[in-house]
């Protein structure tokens, strides 16, 4: 089984650019990814592309071939849709195809255009990741669903809004050096606690912003990297995916993410590591509570203790296991279809020593990226390791 090398990564700035089409954004990200990789476009054998709300935001389906065109490649192209885990599942498929020897060079990524919908429109578009009949028609929004999980967590394990606020503060702090982050602005706990409520107990600063952006990765086989003498020291050594019931109310636990646990166990086993080997992680913090559920599902914190991890400094930049050194979805932004690929890009740079926050994890050799769809009815986890 061939290792899968991250040969090049490209990200647009994440933020508020309602006038930019997703083809424009994705084209931009691929220019950077190809330049970073040194791989010629002609060598790409397929595009695996993640996008969630293209029909609603741009009246555009069938985005695979459109995005291959935008990237300047002639190759079969397929769109993956799994809500906010869309590019996570695309990456997982790419990893399997390269490992199996089917292809040596793949372009993987995703994009999302959201801000042109406005807050109400984007809220409606995001809500369709939930069960339309039994959740959306009862008024469930995306923040509302996570708020139900936050309240359930407080009831089951304790904790309060102030604990969550420390997560937002940490992720904003981490984003200060990330020039492509949507917010490069420090906030404090009071800012979070005093912000307008979105869906109690979650307020504006517990929530990731509505964002536009794209991410692209050039992935290659180990053999291709060696043959072409690529500078690609980081490999994806484990991939996992988990699933759960669609509606939150149908889950066994309202305050845990079994799909993410399943995905993590599978990815750890493939890579031959366990949670204690993880030096750094990018997890899906679409809301502050989501980071808590993610680090518990990944065994980076015991069940019921993830709530205090940021407050007590275990997951801050200088903590034991820094979480979301990029700023996370919270401060970096969350263009839905681009998120999973952007996390792999960030972890890869952190491990390669090319990230503005690499100094915080100077000896890191093992990183993890966790990407969740909806209220975690879908989840992917990838393990990245320095191999060269």
């Amino acid at each position: 089984m061939s290792d899968v090398r991250v040969a090049g990564v490209g990200l647009t700035s994440f933020g508020n650019t309602p006038e930019r089409t997703s083809r424009d954004l994705f084209g931009d990200a691929t220019i950077e990814a190809f330049a970073d990789s040194g791989v010629p476009r002609d060598d790409v054998e397929a595009l695996l592309y993640g996008n969630f709300m293209g029909e609603l935001s741009e009246h555009q389906g069938h985005q695979g071939p459109l995005m291959a065109e935008a990237a300047g490649i002639r190759a079969p192209a397929t769109r993956y849709e799994s809500a906010c885990a869309s590019s996570g599942v695309a990456i997982r498929d790419a990893v399997k195809r390269i490992r199996n020897g089917e292809e040596d060079v793949l372009l993987v990524g995703g994009a999302e255009r959201m801000t042109n919908l406005g807050t109400a429109g984007a809220t409606e578009a995001l809500a369709i990741a939930a069960d339309d009949l039994w959740e959306v028609r009862a008024g469930t929004t995306f923040p509302g669903a996570y708020a139900l999980m936050a309240q359930a967590y407080f009831s089951e394990f304790g904790g309060e809004h102030e604990d969550l606020a420390h997560i937002a503060v940490k992720n904003h702090e981490n984003a200060l050096t990330n020039e492509k982050a949507q917010y490069q602005r420090a906030i404090d706990v009071d800012d979070v606690l005093e912000a307008p409520q979105v869906s109690s107990p979650l307020g504006l600063y517990d929530s990731c912003p509505i964002s536009d952006g794209a991410a692209a990765l050039v992935l290659t086989s180990e053999d291709y990297a060696a043959e072409h003498d690529l500078d690609a020291p980081v490999a994806i050594t484990g991939t996992g995916q988990g699933g759960d019931r669609m509606a939150l109310h149908d889950r066994e636990h309202l305050a845990r993410s079994p799909a993410a646990r399943e995905a993590g166990e599978e990815a750890y086993a493939e890579a031959g590591i366990d949670a204690s080997d993880v030096d750094v992680a990018e997890v899906h913090d679409c809301f502050t509570i989501a980071e808590v559920l993610a680090i518990e599902a990944l065994d980076l914190e015991p069940i019921g203790e993830g709530i205090s991890a940021a407050r007590d400094g275990r997951t801050t930049a200088d903590g034991e296991t820094p979480i979301n050194l990029s700023g996370g979805l919270k401060a970096k932004g969350h263009p839905v279809g681009a998120t999973g690929a952007s996390q792999i890009a960030e972890v890869s740079k952190l491990l390669a020593g090319t990230h503005p926050n690499s100094d915080h994890v100077a000896d890191a050799t093992t990183g993890v990226a966790h990407n969740a769809g909806g209220t975690v009815a879908s989840a992917t986890v990838h393990v990245l390791e320095v191999v060269a």
Binding site: T119, A120, G121, T123, E124, A127, L133, W134, E135, V136, R137, A138, G139, T140, T141, P143, G144, A147, L148, M149, A150, Q151, A152, S155, P196, Q197, V198, S199, S200, P201, L202, R245, A247, L248, H249, D250, L254
Partner: protein
Amino acid sequence: MTDSENAVQDAGFDEWLDAAEDGDAYYLECPNEHGSLPPRRVCPDCGATDLEEVPLPATGEIETFTVTHVPTPAFEDDAPYATAIANFGPVRITGQVVDVDLEAIEPGLTVEIEISVSETTGERVLSFSPA
């Protein structure tokens, strides 16, 4: 979307709302006693295909809730409103909490099913009211 006579129905779901409005809410039960909500042809727990409509327990208990201030356009005029997940034993259900002060909602509150109407769209909404 409109609630007019001409609107296309969602088989299974609209019938369920009709029944709930008449006080006859039900859930589906498979031979292995797994509960689930319609429309459904197959038990999601065990794959059984002979599902039976069984009366929903009259009351449920709120497990978790939230008050939403930033709604989707379909609930623009309803906000702020409370949404909860209530446990009815064999199934849990998501619904809005009505006929109660938003401050008075808490986990453990006993509720019954009520079909209310969205102030924004006039559509029926699956709701809970204190029992």
